[in-house]
Amino acid sequence: MMETIHISIRLNGRLQTADIAPNLMLVDFLREHLGLQGTKLACDQGACGACTVLIDGRPMTSCLTFAFAADGADILTIEGVSRDNGTLNQVQKALHACGVPQCGFCTPGMVMMMEGFAGQNPHLPGQSLETWMNANLCRCSGYQGFRRALSHLADEANGS
């Protein structure tokens, strides 16, 4: 019989505790235990990034992360990204304006990737969001909508 592990996380800004089985994957903790189904489960092998969440600000693969490993961490999921009143934030607005999403299954993961980058920048020179986004698959769009959104966001950052 497995012992349960007590974890305490800060989830989308709120304290969340739980007693979980050691073999529970973070993606299932979020989707099934907490009902946060915005994070998607696609490949279940770490190839696609649809399950990307931010752990301590870092984009990570929640289908490869055990829930116990997130103990003590600050977790942000797609549900925590929009403004409190449900309106889209800057990243989401840029995507929406640029023809993203199509089927939408990759989209929460992509948004989290972009949020993670926004959180890191500008502390780390030499990093490029385009390179980061190579980590995530989209089968519908050919990535062009994302490219346009990145360009849009860069223009906004430059004040143009």
Binding site: R31, L36, Q37, G38, T39, K40, L41, A42, C43, D44, Q45, G46, A47, C48, A50, T77, I78, E79, V81, S82, G86, L88, Q92, L95, H96, A97, G99, V100, P101, Q102, C103, G104, F105, C106, T107, P108, V111, E130, T131, M133, N134, L137, C138, R139, C140, S141, G142, Y143, Q144, G145, F146, R147
Partner: protein, 771 residues
């Protein structure tokens, strides 16, 4: 960009996806998010062998495990009409007596949790009598090849062959379907040609690899009723399939469909739903069967193929006659292969003029993943061979490839083949657009760089029935119900814009409801780029009728003639007066809260309703020492008739082009010893952002001749068709090496470069020894 003048309010605007907000915030719910209280979780035990007889299945240990509610195997198919397949029904719901591909479902378990279901799978004992695999076309057709089936014909729903063609069902062991097509005096025409080229082409096995795997939740409250939630693209076809398989009244089978996380043809027609239903009926509880993405890739794929193409041209470079012999690797079961074969077999004329075309397409059975419908329905295969060969022929007759094409395009308003719909687009205009844009900025004299073109033309909209219903509520809201599923082509947005335009209302007031086959109007399935056009026509007509109902009502209320009224922005306009619809509705009246609805049904005939042309120019950079190729520029143009939503048209082309790129350079499910090597998301290489050139242009032309609403046509399936050939042509331009096999991986390219070297040097007047 050719654009039609736009005086319309909503059609022609690049409105954002109506579900975009929910998709971006994680609020969107897909079938894989759906839960029913008390549902069991099902998992599948799959055959490790590509070919074997099932001697016994002992699930007793699994059944004894805590939390296991039931197991189904082939034995549970007794009394059922237990096979499915789009036209030839040879695929059992679950393996029956035999397994015919590694990965075929052999048993399925339903348990309280997915974890318990997986554990119980390991406790099922299956005894196999292993048979030799049949891993490729050559093996399937070899003398004494092991037959996958024992002979006899399977039940079929094959349509009579189209004009000029014949077909034979299951004519020989390991041959599922043999389709022939011909017009013109082929051999006479060849004899008259100054140049005849014969070339072979090969295609690998592409996987749809949609991100959301197949999922079905089935509920069987009693023996006569079934309710299913699934991410299938064809809820109405599925209703018929389930009814037939389980011997139920179609009206007692209810399908629910919502947002789908990608389809591309992998979720068309019957797939895993019957297994979920089987378990639901057996256990008496709701059952959720969710595949992993790897399992989805094992469920259906596109056809590997061999094509022998013989083409004759005149002394002055006119296309005269073409003969194609195609062998498609259909995998273990039919799925939609006969339909793919028929589509392919009637379209080898491509976008050019011919005096004669003959084709023979055979679907061969192998012990591999069943091949079915993939975006393009075989036109990608046709285009790979034909557009590659156009360049090869051009080289042999010393014409520039673009010139050779240009002088042979089919004229608008003419028909490319007997009884084929006349061409509704201007191929020359599109080609020139792409040619001139590529010429503008490229200096292809850079070493290792080359440019290639390809043109394709796929038909769409045939034999399709789409119904729609539009309801206008006095509150000012509009409900739109149509049976076309939302798989990422943003069809809901397109239909919303059409209804908004007809009704003159703000699109924000229009809601497209999820599909419930009990309430939603019928649609024959989400494929062949039918959504915008055929469902669009149905929505347009339904909206028009709903508006007419409003005016009839208003005329009664205002005691005037209908012809004096018009309806705009939820207001009834009567001369100088205007009344809000909600105000005209009397809350005290008998029929309180009436809504005004209109329904329409569109049935298109067989044969293409419209043509989707695609013109592509690609520029590549080839590293001659390693064979590594990089796509540096891509230009695609498409005619969409009228762009209901220009952004959506662009998105479809871009997305399809990426799939074409994958097919061109790296996507392939390879086999060794009957086992798939690259059928998982980790091993199957798919395009990522870095693979797509930044210099990627999509041109949407509006040549205005579409049969859809406001002159629209479909655009979903053309963007991938031309990419492989355009790249191959660019590689040939760059380094003189001709690729005839997909995918064009570096090792193949390097080999082709080496083989081409003596020929190049000879043409350049340099002998190898001078180097």
């Amino acid at each position: 960009m050719t654009a039609l003048p736009n005086t319309l309010a909503h059609v022609g605007r690049s409105m954002a996806d109506v579900n975009g907000h929910d998709k971006l915030t994680g609020a969107a719910r897909y079938a894989s998010d759906f839960n029913l209280a008390g549902m069991l979780h099902a998992k599948i035990l799959r055959s490790p062998h590509p070919h074997a007889r099932i001697l016994s299945i002992d699930a007793s240990a699994a059944l004894a495990m805590p939390g296991v509610a039931g197991v189904v195997t082939g034995e549970d198919l007794a009394g059922l009409d237990h096979t499915y397949g789009m036209f030839i029904r040879d695929q059992p719901v679950i393996a029956y007596a035999k397994v015919r591909f590694a990965g075929e479902p052999v048993a399925a378990i339903a348990a309280e949790t997915e974890e318990l279901a997986y554990r119980a799978l390991s406790a099922i004992r299956v005894e196999y009598d292993v048979l030799p695999p049949v891993s490729c076309i050559a093996e399937a057709l070899a003398e004494n090849a092991p037959p996958l089936f024992d002979g006899g014909l399977h039940p079929s729903a094959l349509q009579p062959p189209p004009l000029c063609s014949t077909w034979v069902q299951e004519p020989a062991p390991n041959v599922l379907f043999d389709f022939s097509y011909s017009f013109g005096d082929i051999e006479d025409l060849f004899a008259s040609c100054a140049h005849v080229s014969e070339d072979r082409f090969t295609l690998g096995r592409q996987s749809h690899a949609a991100l959301e795997p197949h999922v079905a939740i089935a509920l069987a409250p009693d023996r006569d009723h079934v309710e299913v939630w699934s991410n299938n693209q064809d809820p109405f076809l599925l209703r018929e399939d389930i009814a037939r398989i389980f011997g139920l009244e179609a009206g007692n089978v209810r399908f629910h469909a919502g947002l789908v996380g990608g389809g591309f043809g992998s979720k068309s027609y019957c797939k895993i739903e019957p297994i979920a239903v089987l378990l639901a009926r057996k256990t008496g509880r709701p059952v959720r069967l969710a595949l992993t993405m790897a399992e989805s890739m094992m469920t259906v794929c596109d056809h590997a193929a061999e094509i022998l193409l013989r083409t004759g041209v005149s002394a002055t470079g006119e296309t005269v006659v073409r003969d194609a012999v195609v062998e498609l690797d259909g995998g273990a079961y039919a799925d939609a292969s006969p339909s793919v074969a028929m589509r392919m077999g009637t379209r080898f004329n491509g976008p050019y003029k011919w005096k004669g075309v003959r084709t023979r397409v055979r679907v061969i059975r192998t012990t591999t993943i069943p091949a079915g419908s993939f975006r393009g329905f075989g036109m990608g295969h046709v285009t790979w061979a034909c557009e590659s060969q156009m360049d090869m022929i051009a080289g042999r007759i010393r014409l520039r490839p673009d010139e050779f094409r240009a002088r042979n395009f089919l004229e608008p308003g003419t028909s490319g083949a007997p009884a084929e719909r006349v061409l509704d687009c201007d191929l020359t205009e599109g080609f020139n657009a792409v040619r001139s844009r590529m010429a503008k900025r490229t200096t292809s004299s850079d070493a290792g760089r080359g440019i290639g073109f390809a043109v394709a033309c796929k038909g769409g909209g045939s034999s399709h029935r789409a119904d729609a219903r539009v309801e206008i509520h006095p509150t000012g809201d509009v409900t739109l119900a149509a049976g076309v599923t939302e798989i990422g082509q943003n069809t809901r947005t397109i239909l919303t814009q059409i209804a908004a335009e007809v009704l003159g209302v703000d699109p924000v007031r229009i809601k497209v409801v999820n599909i419930d086959t009990h309430a939603t109007p019928f649609d024959s399935g989400t494929h062949a780029s039918n959504g915008a056009t055929v469902a669009g026509l149905a929505v347009r007509d339904a909206a028009t009728k709903a508006a007419a109902e409003v005016l009839l009502f208003a005329a009664r209320q205002l005691k005037c003639g209908v012809e004096e009224l018009s309806f705009r922005q939820m207001r009834i306009l009567h001369g100088a007066s205007s009344y809000l619809l909600g105000d005209l509705v009397d809350p005290q009246a008998q029929d309180d809260h009436p809504s005004f609805s209109g329904a329409a049904s569109i049935q298109t005939p067989g044969g293409s309703l419209f043509w989707m042309p695609i013109w592509t120019a690609a520029e590549v950079e080839v590293d001659e020492e390693t064979g590594i190729v990089r796509l540096t520029r891509l230009i695609n143009a498409a005619d969409v008739g009228r762009a209901i939503n220009p952004q959506r048209c662009v998105s479809q082309i871009e997305g399809a082009a990426a799939q074409g790129l994958g097919q061109a350079l790296f996507e392939d499910i390879t086999y060794r010893d009957g086992q798939p090597l690259t059928a998982t998301p980790l091993t199957y290489r798919m395009p990522r952002l870095a693979d797509i050139p930044a210099d990627f242009e999509t041109i949407i032309l509006e040549q205005g001749r579409g049969p859809g609403p406001f002159g629209a046509k479909g655009v979903g399936e053309s963007g991938n068709l031309t990419i492989p050939a355009a790249i191959a042509n660019a590689i040939a331009d760059a380094v003189g090496a001709r690729m005839t096999t997909l995918p064009m991986t570096p090792d193949k390219i390097l080999r082709a470069i080496r083989e081409a070297k003596p020929a190049i040097m000879a043409t350049a007047g340099v002998s190898p020894s001078d180097r």
